[in-house]
């Protein structure tokens, strides 16, 4: 199916079409067809003929893999075309405490549940967040920081800058050569503190222990984190200060991940109040929001049903998309195509599933995979192409 090369004018026209398609779908307005977006992950490297090791260690290989995928499958957008593990940047820091294990031979991709900060560090966060990130998080994660050659630190900076340049080039080429807008691209990001703690610096075990042992301290940190990092993002949304960029499709982004290990009372205390502020800011500004979720988001259903329609798009992982649309007709959901079907089904079966979803749920969904595409078995190329054909054929003539 490889997409034919577009002229600059054709790419600009297609970019405008696809951006409107995504924006109007999130707004729950009538559209030609449903959008079809790719939940990027290391699968793209396998598909383009590289290994995960190669992709992680060379941002140019990631760029080539993403563009190869776009040529092959003609997606309307990519969830995370530039987000891969940045361990290449950190290598000059020496061994980190992350515990990643990647083995392309056996197809293993593993990360330990590690804490990079400890409960005693929360007081430092409350005293000075910058000090916390540097002398607690970075110094614990990279022990070599205590005795390091300045040239190694400068090499980290050089790699970081190369990566940023390649990321910028990725979006520029997706837009200018393939007419593909971004999703997280140039949107504001906000997140509850506990979500960040579990995902990035305390781990699941550490965060769970902290919520039980030092709940007041966690609440204090959550409030400060919200003031320092979320409030400016929400203000930018409320004041419509986001860049007027033809590639940008949504205004605010967040994740919903930590509900998977928290009980209802903890969600009510540490998560929902912050999400509620995010939603309020988006609705107040008549803006839009993209949420990337993992696991089930059913614990949020009672709250989500009160959000006005036309503002929120949630990319699902575990929840059934039919059940989700029925429960929350005010939300647009991403997903519907499982990796089990894309990886083990036939092109006809995948096409039939896509057709059924389009017929049943158009106006309420954005077609996508239900996982970050990681392993070679997550999709057969001919199955993705079959879905693209169905989606394109469904466009109103």
């Amino acid at each position: 199916m490889s997409a034919t090369k577009l002229t600059k004018e054709e790419a600009a026209k297609l970019l405008d079409y696809r951006r409107n398609l995504i924006v109007n779908t999130v707004r729950m307005k009538d559209t030609d067809r449903i959008p079809w977006i790719f939940s990027d992950g290391p699968w793209d490297a396998h598909d383009a003929g590289y290994t995960i090791e190669q992709e992680i260690n060379d941002p140019h290989i990631l760029l080539e893999s993403v563009l190869y995928n776009q040529r092959e499958y003609d997606f309307d957008s990519h969830m995370t075309p530039t987000q891969r593990n940045p361990m290449w940047i950190a290598q000059p820091f020496g061994q980190s405490t992350s515990g990643y294990k990647i083995d392309d031979e056996t197809g293993m991709l593993h990360v330990d549940d590690v804490a990079h900060v400890y409960p005693e560090h929360y007081d430092i966060f409350l005293e000075n967040p910058t000090k916390f990130w540097w002398s607690c998080f970075m110094a614990t994660k990279y022990p070599n920081l205590k005795a390091m050659k300045p040239s190694d630190l400068r090499e980290v900076f050089r790699r970081q800058n190369v990566q940023q340049q390649v990321h910028a080039e990725t979006f520029e080429r997706l837009g200018n050569e393939y007419g593909v807008p971004g999703l997280f691209y140039k949107a504001q990001f906000a997140s509850p503190f506990v979500e960040q703690a579990f995902d990035w610096f305390r781990g699941i075990k550490g965060t769970t222990q902290d919520l039980h042992r030092i709940p007041d301290k966690m609440e204090e940190c959550a409030k400060l984190y919200h003031e320092v990092y979320n409030k400016p993002a929400l203000e930018a949304v409320k004041k419509h200060q986001l860049p007027n960029d033809p590639m940008r499709t949504v205004d605010l982004t967040t994740t919903m991940l930590s509900q998977t290990f928290m009980n209802r009372k903890q969600i009510e205390k540490y998560l929902w109040p912050y999400y509620e502020e995010f939603f309020n800011a988006v609705v107040e500004a008549d803006a839009t929001m993209l949420i990337f979720s993992e696991g089930s988001i059913k614990p949020y259903w009672p709250y989500l049903k009160n959000i006005p329609a036309g503002h929120v798009f949630i990319h699902l992982e575990q929840d059934d998309i039919y059940e989700s649309v029925e429960a929350l007709p005010n939300i647009v959901f991403g997903g519907g195509m499982s990796t089990s079907l894309l990886g083990r089904g036939t092109p006809d079966e995948c096409a039939a599933r896509a057709e059924q979803l389009i017929n049943d749920l158009k106006g309420h969904i954005i077609l996508s995979e239900d996982k970050i595409m990681t392993y070679p078995e997550d999709a057969r190329p001919e199955n993705l192409k079959a879905v693209t054909e169905v989606v394109h054929a469904s466009a109103r003539k």
Binding site: N128, K131, M138, L145, M148, K149, L153, F157, D199
Partner: protein, 52 residues
């Protein structure tokens, strides 16, 4: 005569402390001028390396 000047061993620096080590790290950023931008760059780097 074979040889030449002996390579000078680079001195190891403790970058881990705050504010001393943090200031030393900022001093190594030669592609930004503004002090606040350098602070933002280092904190942005720390957050970028969350999952590294």
């Amino acid at each position: 005569m074979n040889g030449g000047s002996k390579m000078t061993e680079e001195e190891l620096v403790d970058f881990s402390t705050f504010p001393e080590g943090f200031e030393k790290a900022k001093a190594e950023i030669d592609f930004l001028d503004d002090d606040d931008e350098k602070t933002g760059y280092l904190i942005g780097l720390a957050m970028f390396l969350f999952n590294a």
